[in-house]
């Protein structure tokens, strides 16, 4: 099947129900997208599918055919993504960092759709788990990226 990832269309030879996560990590070699739980509970595997934050560990690769998939590796290619990364650095958000690819992309999806989100918008969009408990700094960073 053909997948369009980070602006490049690639032919991949995988079973159609292979989760998009593993296609991205193992076929395309993009390891910034993380495996955390495999059941869409944690969000470490979040990628953007046509701009929407999508948990790739339960997304069959075949269902992403014909979409524009964007991973953390090119997050800085958009103004919003660049602003989010800057806010993450400015607010010193990451600790272990393992969940942060997903957090940054979830924030990028939110702010692309809703440049000035309410607290409720942020709470609804930023549902990824962080075992280090960086939640308050994530919230601060989303706010500072939205004000920019």
């Amino acid at each position: 099947m053909q997948l369009t990832v980070n602006g490049t269309t690639r032919e991949v030879d995988v079973d159609p129900d292979t989760p998009l996560l593993w296609v991205i990590r193992e076929e395309l070699g993009l390891t910034g997208t993380k495996y955390g739980c495999g059941i869409a509970a944690c969000g470490a595997c979040t990628v953007l599918v046509d701009g929407y934050a999508t948990r790739s560990c339960v997304t069959p690769a075949s269902s992403a055919e014909g979409t524009e998939i964007r991973t953390i590796e090119t997050v800085e290619d958009t103004d919003v993504g660049r602003r989010v990364v800057e806010a993450w650095v400015e607010n010193q958000v990451p600790q272990c960092g393992y969940c942060q690819s997903g957090q940054v992309l979830a924030a990028t999806a939110l702010l692309s759709e809703t440049p000035n989100p309410t607290d409720e918008d942020v709470e609804a969009a930023m549902s990824n788990l962080c075992r280090c408990g960086t939640y308050n700094k994530i919230r601060d960073a989303v706010r500072s990226a939205s004000e920019a």
């Binding site: 193992e26 390891t31 650095v89 788990l129």
Partner: protein, 725 residues
Amino acid sequence: MTLMQRLTRMPAKVSRRGFLAGSGALVLSTTIPVRAPKAQEAAAGPDVPAFLELHTDGTARLLSPFIEGGQGVFTTFAQIIGEELDLAPENFTVTSAPPGPPYGVMGGFRITGGSASTRTAYGLMRQLGASARAMLLQAAAAEWDVDASELTTEPGVVVHAASNRRAPYGDLADAAMALPVPAEVALKDEADFRWIKTAVPRLDVYEKSTGKAQYAIDVTVEDMLLAAVLHAPRLGLTPASVANLAEVEGMRGVHSVHLLNGAVGVVAEKFWQARNAVAALQVEWTEGEAEWPMPADFSSDSFRATLSEASGDAVEIEATGDAATALSEADNVIEAQYDAPFVVHGQLEPPSATARFNEDGTLDLWLPNQAPEQFQGAAASAAGIEPAQVRIHSQMLGGFFGRHFLYRTANPFPQAIAMAQATGRPVKLIWSREEDFLRDAPRPLGLARFRGAVGADGPVALEATVVGEGPTQRWYGAPPGPDVSAHEGISGKSYAIANSYVGQVPVANPAVIGYWRSVGHSMHDFMYECFLDELAAAGGLDPYQMRLNLLSGNDRLHTLLTRTGELSGGWQSGPYEVDGTTRARGVAMASPFGSEAAAIAEVSLDRGEVRVHNVWTVLDPGQIVNPGIIEAQVQSAVALGVSQTLVEELVYENGEPTARNFDGYPILRPDQMPAVHVDIIESGAEMGGVGEPGLPAVGPAIVNAVYALTGQRIRSLPLSKHSFG
């Protein structure tokens, strides 16, 4: 012989059965030698070349004896060395040091744990920086034919003011590193610190915000195969046969199927193929060999009952006055029993290991770990080779919280080694989250009994008996008593109660148990501090004021608690109304890992569930290096403290954990995170730990607040299993 001395005599290979002096609760009160023992350099300075490279581009590389897993030590070390070296921290790259004697900086050994990294290495890192700076000055002096005493530095530059000459460190790097390490160097005056005690930005945040940071699970080795395993549902079972072996071997991408000790592994071209294949396995399990076979009828409920009913003799841990007599003579005696559940580590990066055998018989291992030499020794045993033939590549940890110590049945590397040997190819094994839950070494379920008496002025007697086993007994053979992991947080309290007694009734835990962030403190401070509130209530005393009274004459802790009260806007218990909610507050303290902490929590009830709105907490680590990292670590410890108090519990039934992923075992969600207000006191006391000490006071502060709000006294965690109004 002190515990530390016994510790240093333990070779890594056998230390797992030796007594490691409570490694999870390392009380590093003794002076740790900051130099690796090297006979031929008895009078020399630190082994600079083993730790530090100066590069010709002006940058430096540090080989860190401690592993980075989010706690910020790589940045902290760059900051400390940079201070003395006079090189800005952002010019450092930091990687994990390989196994080896130079890195045994805890007096001949090392682990990343016990909140010990920075306080252990602070002196060494300063000496390394100062020594390297002296070597640069010496190199410049030779180059310019002047006396080194005429030279000074600015960040990254050696300066000879008299002749107006300047040389960037990079120009002098090769010459400097070829010089002998000076035997003695002067350290900077603290008043002249440029970076230490400031919130230097972390070195790794950009990489971690853009997916560039690499973890063990991301390792790629040429020609490697990917592997998954299916563990026996309980330890002690082992595969007898696979009924559909041919079918699984014929699945797409599958290379081979391996019957391992206690598990079946599948090696494939890709991980998802291996994962699919293990999901399809039809395994017949049979009783096998295991050091800790899990009884088929084991349940956490029955084990809690076992602890509750245990009536053996107690080992005395500590005693003041005569608690038994005081209790027998007191009018107002109350009794209570507390317990806390098994909890998993839940680090977001699932465990993995990549094993590659080389033509010369050596083995390379890329894996998460908190103790490289111990893993090297165990890997050598597993592979049947010598430790010197094993190269350990310690990776950045995607969270750890105690998950990556050597727990034998909880680490994937022996299976990766076995499958790499069997296939003749490098193998990366990833444990799915389900397999991680099944083989994690959880924080032990704990229980303690209390009796206390209170008078008009406060508690007059307190007797506590902890029942159970700590991880340091399990893994390092520490006997009850010296194994502080079994009682810390009930022992080691600082309140001046005239008659007090702490004992432990040892009861072996059938489950595989491990170290979890703040170890024994993670549950024992909850038990003690909540019982203390019971005494306050029984005496009609305010819990905050009663604690202050119990700390009179202890300036450090009195100041700490007072500051915490002030941070919260002035102590009040409540209940009171805010934003249409009824809220109340609780207070608690803890003395973990050489630091002191106090917390006040504010809670309300939201549709029958406890909601934590605010946590005000003050940490006194004695001395600080990076206040930004400390604040972040306290935020993190509070989050884990709230999480385990509200929702976490690993339940066993029929010898198996009932939860195998985050659907059946919730961890704190973003919308459950309270506002956390952190203050840091630098009292000047000996430097204490930072990563764990923010956790233990949080739980009891919450549970005490719940009592203030509801009148319900919760003595068993988590709160989610209780019903509220």
